[in-house]
């Protein structure tokens, strides 16, 4: 936060994102400007009656050239390992062994993909089996493939980044849905400020195209179904899962300056909290976070990227919070990115950090995504040089970060 030694200020020197709106910065900016194309990106057939945002086009062989490496991962890890390669390359660290040995990794992930056809086969056969235990053991021992279940271990995500890109400083994997991504950023940020490391690779992956996850979220009645509705006006069953892989290289200002690395943006604050989710509690937490952050905000134009998940009650509370921020900063421009990219759970917050960098690069926000909602006002050509990113978990956890233009 403000007050830290200038040399310990936190910069972003690399960013890689694959998302439902494309695999590179140009295609996603074009897509964000093209609201009319949005419904076409939402898949309402494969997992009907639910909606998913499938990953956009990208070529994994660019960052993961060995087919054997690609086969060792499921889609979630593939998105992330690719995005990590893009971020390392942009930061000028890729292939630099001495730097990679000093690069610390914090990855947010849940479990990888299962063998769904095996699951279905077993559940079909189980009720009729005479000895259920023996049946289960036989089916799994015959059907499970070691390469696949290695791809299920969340920590193998970071393991694959070490193997493919040679990152060897350290490796930590955070789990715990939305908060995992927020806390990955927060811990890297705190460690750089405190001098506990100079270069961090922070990222997450999420694959929405998984029937087991639809079952998991549907069990709680959380998935939007049947008829599409705008992000800010959905029932509690209001989440559309979206795929993403998002990685950042965070670096102390001193390290970036010494290496001559280009600074994409400055990370000025990261807040992460939890509260028992009684009505109003998350809003109170976020208001406290904003109270601490706003002291370090400048006078320049503010963009706000919300990662609202879409589930009615909690998203309405977040909308109320954003309206209270707008009351204080009427010049701020709010966008709920879930409309464009769906909800990427562990990867949601980091994805929005990267979309925030895209905005800073151009000093402006993209057009409103929810055209039917006054919260997302037309920004005209308002100049923006700081971005507030908010992320609330669908069950728990509230996060906030402030990004500033590097030369601001």
């Amino acid at each position: 936060m403000t007050g830290s030694e200038p040399s310990r200020r936190v910069c972003i020197t690399g960013a890689g994102l694959v998302s439902p709106i494309g695999g590179d910065a140009e295609s996603r900016w074009a897509a964000l400007g093209d609201g009319a194309g949005r419904p076409a990106r939402v898949d309402h057939e494969t997992y009907a009656p639910f909606f998913t945002y499938p990953i956009g086009d990208f070529d994994p062989s660019v960052q993961i050239p060995k087919p054997g490496d690609q086969r060792a991962m499921g889609p979630m890890m593939l998105y992330g390992v690719h995005a990590a390669g893009v971020a390392l390359e942009q930061a000028g660290i890729k292939g630099e062994e001495a730097l990679l040995e000093q690069t610390h990794m914090i990855v947010a992930a849940g479990g990888g993909e299962r063998d769904w056809s095996l699951d279905e086969q077993i559940v079909k056969g189980l009720p009729g089996a005479n000895d259920k235990g023996a049946y289960l053991n036989r089916e799994m021992a015959d059907g499970l493939r070691p390469t696949l279940f290695l791809a299920q271990l969340p920590n193998l995500f970071a393991g694959n980044i070490s193997i493919v890109h040679g990152v060897s400083g350290s490796s930590r994997t955070f789990m715990g849905e939305e908060s995992a991504g927020i806390d990955a950023l927060r811990i890297a940020f705190d460690k750089i400020e405190a001098g506990q490391g100079d270069i961090f690779l922070v990222g997450a992956g999420f694959n929405a195209e998984r029937p087991d996850l639809h079952l998991m979220y549907h069990a709680a009645g959380l998935l939007l179904r049947d008829d599409y509705a705008g992000l800010w006006h959905r029932p509690d069953a209001g989440i559309c899962l979206g795929s993403a892989g998002a990685f950042l290289v965070l670096e102390s200002e001193q390290s970036a300056a010494e290496r001559g690395a280009r600074v994409l943006g400055r990370l000025s604050a990261v807040e992460s909290d939890r509260t028992r989710r009684v009505p109003g509690a998350a809003k109170a937490t976020a208001s406290g976070q904003f109270g601490r952050i706003k002291a370090s905000m400048g006078d320049g134009g503010v963009g706000i990227l919300s990662g609202a998940c879409g589930s009615g009650t909690i998203t309405a509370e977040e909308k109320g919070f954003l309206e209270s921020v707008l009351h204080e900063r009427p010049d701020a421009v709010v966008r709920g990115t879930g409309e464009a990219v769906g909800h990427a759970v562990e990867a949601a917050f980091l994805q929005n950090i990267i979309l925030g960098l895209d905005c800073l690069e151009r000093s402006r926000m993209f057009p409103p995504l929810a055209t039917d909602e006054p919260l997302e006002a037309d920004a005209d050509d308002r100049e923006v040089n700081q971005i507030l990113v908010t992320g609330w978990g669908h069950l728990k956890g509230e996060g906030m970060a402030l990004l500033e233009k590097a030369d601001g």
Partner: protein, 424 residues
């Protein structure tokens, strides 16, 4: 007063708690570990019909309504935390004003849950993933969502013990428990809050996890007798034995601990970590990551290799781990290796996986405090390629001052902790 060795970043340990297949609580476990007892037994939780491995160190007597992975893992973590927080005496009125770091197994639906949902979410369908959930009242099966979210266990602990900030759930495979402690050490050193609660828990033994490790040829198949299966550093070792357990440590700023008159059980002096870039299940034969990791812990503590008296080994009993761990120790310690004692708790407890780093850190604290080294049991046929004093079969009265606790995981994650006697 002369400056103490390892003074710069020391963090006090003011509370410990544990539960394993040997018992509930530190006081129940410690005498049994010194007696060389084994917690490994035949699996009764589920059928092992047709499986090559039929033994484990499950924790079975928890009296849970549903004995699934999240419930067992939470119940054990809760017990370990209650013990550690109680001993530390930090906080009051159910509020522990410190950070929470929890190493926990990755959670997904088990077969019980999957089948229940197949029957109830999709009437008339036999597929668990049938996408016609029309008759499901929204939220009727909420617990089948919330209980199986990876963040829920830590969230419930944070609520129950009033921890500050956002609780972190993490995994670095078999190094997870040590990573949780390392995150706690870093947080206390940053000084954001005076204390941190570090937890490792693992109640993940079910048909599927057992079969997964078996298919990697990682598990011992010496089922009879179960207590002889785990044979770290022995020539006839044939894999690890899966086990369950939990441990918790309260880490605290030393000045804060002293000011409130807390008993300091030991100090965490240093942490080392390094990631291997070689292979998904094997370490690089050059041992570089293990060496960097051990050296990192010693450097972080401001000590030199000759200061170390004892190593609580990762010592899983797989051919690969024990060979590589011995190699790493030989490289780092050179001639000093001959004066080191190195024992493996896993010979008695099995491999508590996600919890192991925390469980073994707690045991290391007791090892230093009581001046007794726990043994490596089942050491009947020494591996001539591994020249280590493994404290064979019998505990030994020997006062160690500085001890390392190693944790090396699948996927190349390595963590070493350096723990010091309270008077050191």
């Amino acid at each position: 007063m002369a400056e103490r060795k390892g003074g710069a970043g020391r963090v006090a340990i003011t509370g410990i708690g544990m539960i394993t297949s040997l018992g509930r609580g530190v006081d129940a476990n410690w005498p049994r570990l010194l007696a060389g007892d084994s917690g490994i037994h035949e699996i009764t939780r589920f059928s092992t019909e047709g499986l090559r491995t039929k033994i484990a160190g499950t924790v079975d007597d928890l009296e849970l309504e549903t004995a699934n992975m999240p419930a067992i893992s939470y119940a054990m973590a809760d017990m370990a935390v209650a013990e550690a927080v109680g001993q530390s005496g930090f906080g009051d009125d159910g509020v522990f004003p410190g950070d929470l770091f929890v190493a926990a197994p990755p959670i997904e639906h088990d077969w019980m849950a999957r089948q229940f949902l197949a029957e109830h979410c999709s009437p008339g369908e036999t597929s668990p993933y049938a996408r016609r959930p029309i008759d499901t009242p929204d939220g009727a099966y909420f617990s089948y969502h919330e209980d199986f979210m990876n963040g829920t266990l830590a969230d419930r602990l944070a609520e129950n013990y009033g921890c500050s900030g956002s609780p972190i759930t993490l995994t670095t495979a078999c190094a997870s428990g040590a990573s949780a402690i390392q995150l706690g050490v870093e947080a206390v050193r940053r000084g954001e809050r005076p204390a941190a609660l570090c937890v490792g828990t693992d109640g993940s033994i079910n048909e599927e996890t057992l079969i997964r490790f078996a298919l990697l040829s990682a598990l011992s198949t010496k089922n009879d007798p179960p207590e002889k299966a785990a044979r770290p550093f022995s020539k006839n070792r044939d894999g690890f034995v899966m086990a369950e357990g939990a441990a918790a440590l309260v880490l605290e700023d030393p000045e804060h601990a002293k000011a409130r008159g807390a008993t300091i059980l030991a100090y965490l002096l240093g942490c080392g970590e390094a990631a291997d870039t070689f292979h998904r299940t094997r370490s690089n034969p050059n041992g570089r990551a293990i060496i960097r990791c051990i050296r990192g812990a010693i450097d972080d503590a401001g000590l030199s290799p000759t200061d170390i008296d004892y190593i609580n080994a990762h010592g899983t009993g797989t051919s690969e781990n024990d060979k590589m761990e011995h190699f790493g120790i030989s490289e780092v310690f050179g001639d000093h290796k001959a004066s080191l004692a190195v024992s493996s708790n896993k010979s008695m407890l099995g491999h508590t996986l996600t919890a192991a780093g925390a469980v073994e850190a707690v045991i290391t604290v007791k090892t230093l405090a009581d001046g007794i080294l726990p043994p490596t049991i089942n050491y009947d046929e020494p591996d001539p390629a591994i020249e280590l004093d493994v404290v064979p079969n019998q505990a030994r009265k020997q006062q160690a001052t500085f001890a390392l606790s190693n944790s090396f995981g699948f996927g190349g994650q390595n963590v070493s902790l350096l723990i010091g006697h309270p008077d050191a």
